[in-house]
Symmetry: C2
Amino acid sequence: GIGADNDLYINQAIVFIEDAIQYRSINHRVDSKSLWLYRWYYSRTCQWILSLTITTILALAFIEKPSSLTITSDIRYRLPAWNPPCGLTESVELLCFFVFMVDVSVKSYLIGWEEFWKNKWLIAYILTLIVSLTDWIVSLSLFCTEDVRIRRILRPFFLLQNSSMMKKTLKSINSTLPEMASVVLLLAVHLSLFTMFAMLLFARTKDGQQDKEWVGYFRNLPDSLTSLLVLLTTANNPDVMIPAYSKNRAYSIFFILFTVLGNLFLMNLLTAIIYNQFRGYLLKSVQSSLFRRRLGIRAAFEVLSCLKETPTYAQQSAVSIGALLRVLQKVEMDSRCKQAIMRSLKMCSCDQLSAAQFQKLFEELDKEAIKQHPPSPEYQSHFMRKMQFAFGHAYFGYLGNVVALANIVSICVVLVMDADKQPSERDDFFLGAINCFFILYYLLEMLLKILAMGLRRYLSYPSNRFDGLLTVILLVLEIATFAVYGFPHPGWRPEFMGLLSLWDMVRLVNMLIVFRFLRIIPNMKFMALVVTTLLDLVKNLRAFAGILVVVFYAFAITGIMLFKGAIVPMGNIRFFLLLLFQTCFYIKNNVVLSYKKKSDFMALLGHFEAVVIDCLRYLLSVNLICRWAKVYFVAWWLISSVIWVNLFVALLLENFIHKWDRRCHREPLSDIEYQRTVELMFRDVLEEPTEEELMEKLHQHPHLQLCR
Amino acid sequence: GIGADNDLYINQAIVFIEDAIQYRSINHRVDSKSLWLYRWYYSRTCQWILSLTITTILALAFIEKPSSLTITSDIRYRLPAWNPPCGLTESVELLCFFVFMVDVSVKSYLIGWEEFWKNKWLIAYILTLIVSLTDWIVSLSLFCTEDVRIRRILRPFFLLQNSSMMKKTLKSINSTLPEMASVVLLLAVHLSLFTMFAMLLFARTKDGQQDKEWVGYFRNLPDSLTSLLVLLTTANNPDVMIPAYSKNRAYSIFFILFTVLGNLFLMNLLTAIIYNQFRGYLLKSVQSSLFRRRLGIRAAFEVLSCLKETPTYAQQSAVSIGALLRVLQKVEMDSRCKQAIMRSLKMCSCDQLSAAQFQKLFEELDKEAIKQHPPSPEYQSHFMRKMQFAFGHAYFGYLGNVVALANIVSICVVLVMDADKQPSERDDFFLGAINCFFILYYLLEMLLKILAMGLRRYLSYPSNRFDGLLTVILLVLEIATFAVYGFPHPGWRPEFMGLLSLWDMVRLVNMLIVFRFLRIIPNMKFMALVVTTLLDLVKNLRAFAGILVVVFYAFAITGIMLFKGAIVPMGNIRFFLLLLFQTCFYIKNNVVLSYKKKSDFMALLGHFEAVVIDCLRYLLSVNLICRWAKVYFVAWWLISSVIWVNLFVALLLENFIHKWDRRCHREPLSDIEYQRTVELMFRDVLEEPTEEELMEKLHQHPHLQLCR
């Protein structure tokens, strides 16, 4: 009947508006039951369960065999790691697979059968699940004794397919691959030509004294390639040329030429290419998000205009305000936006909305939330008002910064003076006394600021929250110190008491004071710009970081499987850390490859001490110099250092240059917090989609039948 | 008289047009005598003498005391370096100073007294000369025994002031300094905060076993700062954290945080800032060159229009074609351009030229020299024409590439097979035979190509010249080999004869063959793009490289003076090389700083062997850990690696992105050689100066009185 139809239209409008808010695609089924399922699937609980499942299945790697999850890493002290019995992690895995199966079924149902076949991600999802389940069954039937567990390598796929940002980024990276491949090819040509030159230059000679270079680095083709590859990572850079250089100075030309061409030109060319490809990436991504939002709103308008209660005299389609109000009440959205839209609706004199008016109403969604700080309290007394002026003034904040700086300097002075003293000679009185004074000042500053601004206004500034929190922690620590060790006095050197020694307490307080000093950042213009750029970058980098995590996980699991069968089992945590360190200290990445002989390795082991010793003993036992380990580590170096670092630089350039240009155009309002999102950054250059584009897209909708 | 006036005008026009051609400023004296002096000063001979003088005075450093200019660097074999007697280098220096004095006088006279006081470069030039001469007198009166020779540090200034490009670039770098300083300040804050954290974290404990980290890296403030600074250059990266990590895994968080923030964020931020500042640099520089050219042409027009022979009936100023022809005959310019302008002048039907027509005539100067390859010979015989078609075809070139590749592969295979053989076991027959075959093919290819294209057309392609030259050299080498050692046969292992052993000959031939393989580059589109970008970059980088040389020279001389008084004298060449290596292998720059104890140093010395041994023994003797040496090397690291490398990356990005955009817009014509200059790269975006701007500038000319 008409009532049921109207209810359906209302529900469709609700879902479309929610899609628009979340930048989701509207290409899903739109019948009543599907809409209910759709809202249930995208409800917070469901999405939370899905995220939890993904986290769980990824975290399983840390406790699975071969586990090395222990508190200390020193093999002399640590207990053997706990290995779960067969079937425990496997049952958790099965549970996760069950959730994924529900997820993929709901998703497939919602987009419809025809769309399903076009969606490669969904098909890959199903295939991954089938392979994982098969592997799981094999694993259980062998009582967990199998060597190869493919499903572990496939796990990060679940993370990948759940994030639309990551999928988009992956597509974007994919389109850059041809150019990247060209440069990598160029690098390979560079490397191989120079390898041939090197082998011809540093050939074996009859005089055994003269061919140190040949013995050390260019004994055969793989050795020569490795030497030059490691030179490209600059890990072995002066050493590799010393024997040749000592024979003849001119040999250095070869190495300088290789380094300049490879490191300075080709490596930076990679940066240039990646930057060039990614210049438009952020803009394009924001543009498509905008299109999705406008499309969702337009779709909501179209279905609402089909409502039977709309009078038919109007030539153009229109939506009654009553219907929209009904929809708005049920839509889940930010309450500030909802109120703003309701307010504008009530101010509207007409009772019908055209498409343009409808779209305009929802532009509230795009607007930046301008944070209004609560007002300062208004004091009656003249004295209080003077106090308020004095302590609410910016100069009082600057004074606080100066005092914080003085505190830092005093700590620094004490550190320098105490540097060479024995712990037993140390007198904690001076530091205790000055810290006590400074912390009292911080407390006073906080209280006076609260007095001047009122508690709510004080807390509405992030810098004050940071400041206040640290001051309270410092105060608590100081009171605890005095309670346990008494007040400081000359020769104040009490013995260990309670949880922490006095010395540890003082160190902790000092570290917090150093940390608190970061409050000066927003006061320095350039620093604030840099910090906000970095924060933005972190936001925009989430997708990239996610892809890095996916690759990292797959790589680490593959590594653990590849390098199995050693004397000392290679723990999973250990291996994760090994790769992680290689990623962080990206330039020296290939350092393990530059150790070639067993004696060198032993020296390295002596260096690394008990820590990563089993890592490296392990790698030694599988014969690191074997080709596959080499290929494995070189691949990881290429992905983590070369490509990822360049992607990072490209994004940083993009973000920073936009920020910088904006900064020059208009001065930031000091009272508005830095809440710039990538959408707002590109506000000026975004193009609004035209009416025709929107309607064409709507007519292509696989499930929605427009009433006209 | 009128004749004298007319002659003056003609001479002025000649000089202005020459100024326009060379992009020189026209703000110089314009009376007859000055014009003659001006043309003499800018004549090739004079400029050549000036360049020679600058080169000489800079090169003096290599033979001056303390000289270490010897052929071999090995102290066991080399003879003591020749030290010139007192007064020899000094008299050469005096000669150079004399040339510079003439140079500065002429320059000052030509720009005029009032302009002279505004020109800071000229005043600095005179001051430098005065200081240098004073220092020279002091030096001679002390019979060359003085320790400090300021004039050596000042020498690179003469290079700097002679190049307008370098002065412009320096100005541009200067304007970027505030932003760079901000980031360097940020780096300093980052470093000092983390140093304080580290000193608090890794403090001395009562248990001597536990504080390996403190003993090794964080003993006091300078040690801690150095440890973290070296970590920023990644030279000591896994080592520095191992002791702490072995105590507790969580300590690695500190080091990872430091590296990620410092290396990944702040260092790359520097790239972003420098790139952002230099984005417009090339365009601006080209724009100002264009303005100078248009201004010179316009000035020539204005003075020619003052000629008395010009009829007065014209309202607008105009120039007679006869006068222009007279001027053109005396102007020194590219003959191709001159002919083109003459040709268009003769085709012109009118006998007067307006300003716009005059300007248009000289646009020939901006045009790219489109290189017309000479035509192929036209053969009468049908057979010859078929041959010509076959061997002039691109496929024949591709076949040549395939053969070159086959040659490379065969050399590679032989190298791999012979890798572990003793020199006495080696049989050179196989390689000799195949190389003989391949070289015959190369000869044939060259001859056939010459047959098809004709010698002149063949030589007009750079790739053919490269190819042909190498083929001829290979042929000569091969014939020489056969003449000395006879034809190859199995077991062909003759003893050493003549200048080079057979083995050396074969190696040389192989290296040339590998080098010849580079001819494939223009055939691969992406490679050609990359190579042309790199070549362009080298052109545009000349000014930057010049500034680097200036800084390098001043730094090296300062270093030699600072680190004087060692047991082993620190040779100048040795020091130059030490800094040069640090510049080339820029990342490990600070490696010398990471060696702290004497025992470590001895290990390093063992590493570097006899080569740089006296360098390092020297540095050890002055106690490298002394503050000033540290400051010196850190400053050099900042300038050479951080700032210069980033400038390089910025220019590379700028160049590459322009190139890439152009490539997308239009396909390059394959027959035109790559002769793109930076002027042409920006052709589409350059703005023509307006008539008003030009005339305003002309009226501001300090010496030229326009006749209207």
